[in-house]
Amino acid sequence: MDRGTITVGIAGNPNVGKSVVFNALTGSRQHVGNWPGKTVERAEGGFYHQGREIRLVDLPGTYSLAAQSPEEVIARDYIISGEPDVVVDIVDATCLERNLNLALQILELTDRVVIALNIMDEARREGWEIDTEGLEADLGVPVVPTVATEGEGLPELVEAIAEVATGQRETRPAEVDYGLTVEGHIQNLQDDLSRLGIEERGRWVALKLLEDDPEIVEAFKQGDLTVLELDAPSGSPEALRAILNRTVRLREGTQPDAKVEIVRRRYELAHDVVHRAMHRVRPVEESLTERIDRIVTHRVWSWPITLAMLVVVLWITIQGANIPSSMLDTAFSWLAGRIRDLLINLHAPWWVVGSLVDGLIVGTGTVIAVMLPPMIIFFTAFNLLEDIGFLPRVAFNLDRLMRAVGSQGKLTLVAMMNFGCNVTGVFACRIIENAKDRIVAIVTSPLILCNGRFGAGLALIILFFGDRALSVTLIYLAVSVGTMLLATWLLNRVLFREEPSGFVMELPPYRKPKWGQVIWRSLLDQAGRTIYRAVMIAAPATLLIWVLGNIPSGVPFEQTAIGWLVHSLAPLGRPFGLTGEMLTALIFTLPAKEIVVPSLAMTYGLQTTLVESRAVLDYLAQTWTPLVAFSFLTFFMLYLPCLVTVWATWKETRSLKWTLMSLLVPLVTASVITFLVYQGGRLVGMS
């Protein structure tokens, strides 16, 4: 028997527990990246079963394989490619009919399919009884009931995968009867195709032509069928175009619309199958979700609830992070001291000790100490809210408001993520499937105050405004959200005048949080990777800053590279009330916004490294007037995204234009508002 690797593609609708199955089967053995050329996540992992390696590839969650979105194209092309030996389709037992729409489309592409009937626990709770054998008989492929969150049914699922892969278990996939008219058309086109030597998947290609499938139609237009991965010769471009013309004629003569009829017939079969296999053993009760939703999406209560949730998450993040942050800070100082001692004992030259300890370790340590704890707390809270199903309701409640600025409800979720970290916020824009809304959300992300700016800014706010700190903080929050909405509105008005924005979103039922998943994702996937990226960029940057502050060596501060920068940048900041020291500090802050206070210490010549010091705060309190402090803070809160965010924007847009735009939008906003604040303040007699 073949002992080779079995490759399995995992398909399914969104919210059916695909990632739960994937994680449960692969454990920590996974690799996360992107699909080639696409900003859609691809997770891969593996495990051993009876001495054979089983490799799992997690396909994007889709409702269909209609090639209408990048996710659908990826899922479909992967199945067509022939790479997977088996496709596992995970379906939600509580809304089986809709899930079978995808299942039947997969069965049209390959016969090596196993269906995992997931979320069986909820279906049972709702009073459903499901005849699994009946389903198997109707669909013609193995159907395994599972409760992935409990691990129930997973061994049987693996068994079924192995059996289908090795051919021990034969499958006879269900075929949809598309009705006399459409079936006639399919037959006609299939005959044409076979005359060109396209026999393999002929029925499927004919069907897709009738469905007006964008990918297939384009392939026929171009006269190039390589995307279909057929072994057969693909005929001359003229012949292919002739088939296309014929399709259009057939389609136009069909009443009702063939495109609609095909989907309808598929659902018809799904309906019949479900009707036969599922039986209610208990009468319908009002579900928990219904009861919760009556409050959460209530006309009046939804507002205080949403607001309270936001405040609580931010408060927990800021308060909860204090202690671990200072502990980490102490730990890094201790580590830096030990290494310094070690290096001095080894008689290392001063610049090695300086750059390595004061530049690299202390700089990077500061970034980690201030970024990591709030990030972990925030992401855990955010993921928890998402996991239980609360966040989609926020998007639902706030969509109308976002529509006023030309965007949609999911923007609120991205904005919330941005409060945690702009980098993760930019990646979170993937949840917006409308390309225009997504680009605008990415570009305006830096306007939302991330944890880094918020925390660092808070220290300065408390220093300068004392007991009025709370109202000043609220002003900055309002400015941040306000400018983001304004920029969104402007971009939509100016750049996307014609394109409509849409909002269609599933509201999944409320579910118990899967703690393992939440913590796993918060710690490793988001916080871990963000910190890793931050360090990769912050480490060389802090090193560079150390170098700038120390060359040429042994000269007075004014003559170092930093002194020179301060001097030359000074005129630029004058209209905004900003000094050269401030601007230079803001440049140093680009790797990570958290290091603004140490940066100021360096640019004011108070110290030559980024080591945090209380001295600088006392110094600033004496030097800056409230107006200057307010202007500086305004500019700091908005001015430019950190370098990691820029990198993320580039990764997500792959466009120089949009990456530059994501720099320009905050820079212009910050300049305009700071100018107004400073000049306005001077007009009313402040100094």
Binding site: H298, R299, D399, G409, V504, E506, P509
Partner: protein, 321 residues
């Protein structure tokens, strides 16, 4: 000589006799089944139906009606009770089935064969008797489980009671009401054809203008039509926006069946893949606090949609009845 109570002396009977010679078995059924359907409708108001009532609604003499009743009783579809007759359970089921098949055919003829509205009744009448329940089920699938026939009558589900005509007679509406015609009675044919010719057919919006003794003046488009009260009795209408409407116009708690998904390309396909296929049932769950978007329940899933997106889905409201 009598064939199911029809005296051969009158002209109708002579015509019948000619057809009887060709296919006696079938024609006999036609007459019986017409009576069955009438009886079903009549029985809505009262428990029993008298000969004269049946005669009046069918437009035949009492003699003929009596003959028809005898045949119905003899075939087990009706039973004699004091003061008239009553349908048996079998008779009721058969009547429901016939009505369902008739209405399905009418919808089919208008939608798929493009037949003018005035002609479908007769054709559907001809076809209904040759249609088996299995074929009816296929027809239902073919049409996407329609909720309404082209006259605006509800097509009952198989084995379910036929609901009474929706809406109220135009004659009973108050001046100023803006209404949509649901149903125009197709008997007698001459009057029906005349009403249709004047533009009074299902789906047309009208406004009741004024009521005069014996007459009712209604506005259609820009024209004014003066109707005799008897004619206005035969038109049933509902306030505008009950039928077929964009999904976004459905009130919270409303249930409807998808009739059509308009537009094309991506958006249409997305709607279809979400389960909004013709015939699928949708329930409006709730509106967001600012009135938009709206949460719908489609095939067991809650989907939030903006009214602009839901506008492309045309639905036929399902009323409980």
């Amino acid at each position: 000589m009598k064939i199911f109570g029809v005296s051969l002396a009158n002209p109708l009977a002579r015509a019948l006799r000619r057809r009887v010679k060709r296919a006696p078995q079938q024609d006999r059924l036609v007459g019986m089944e017409d009576a069955l359907k009438e009886l079903y409708e009549l029985q809505r108001g009262e428990a029993t139906v008298r000969v004269e009532e049946l005669a009046r609604t069918m437009g035949v003499s009492d003699e003929i009606a009596e003959g028809l009743m005898e045949v119905l009783v003899a075939s087990g579809w009706a039973e004699d009770v004091s003061g008239g007759i009553r349908l048996t359970k079998r008779g009721q089921e058969r009547a429901q089935e016939l009505i369902r098949i008739h209405r399905l055919w009418e919808r089919y003829l208008v939608e798929q064969e493009g037949m003018p509205l005035e002609e479908v009744h007769a054709e559907a009448h001809r076809r209904e008797r040759e249609t088996t329940p299995d074929e009816a089920a296929k027809l239902d699938v073919e049409l996407g489980h329609p909720a309404w026939d082209p006259h605006g009558d509800i097509i009952p589900e198989a084995g379910r009671r036929v609901p009474p005509p929706a809406g109220s007679p135009l004659a009973a509406c108050t001046p100023g009401d803006r209404l949509r015609i649901l149903h125009v009675e197709d008997e007698p044919p001459a009057l029906f054809a005349q009403l249709v010719a004047m533009g009074l057919k299902p789906d047309v919006e009208v406004q009741v203008f004024e009521r005069r003794p014996g007459r009712l003046n209604v506005k259609v488009d820009d024209g004014l039509i003066s109707l005799a009260t008897e004619a206005a009795e035969r038109i049933h209408a509902v306030p505008v926006s009950v039928l077929p409407v964009p999904l976004s116009e459905l009130p919270v708690g409303g249930r409807a069946r998808v009739a059509e998904v308009k537009g094309g390309g991506r958006h249409q396909r997305r709607m279809l893949d979400m389960g909004l296929v013709p015939g699928a049932e949708v329930t409006v769950m709730r509106k967001a606090s600012l009135g938009d978007p709206v949460e719908y329940r489609i095939k067991g899933t809650a989907i939030a949609m903006r009214s602009t997106d839901a506008d492309s889905v045309m639905v036929e409201e399902v009323r409980n009845g």
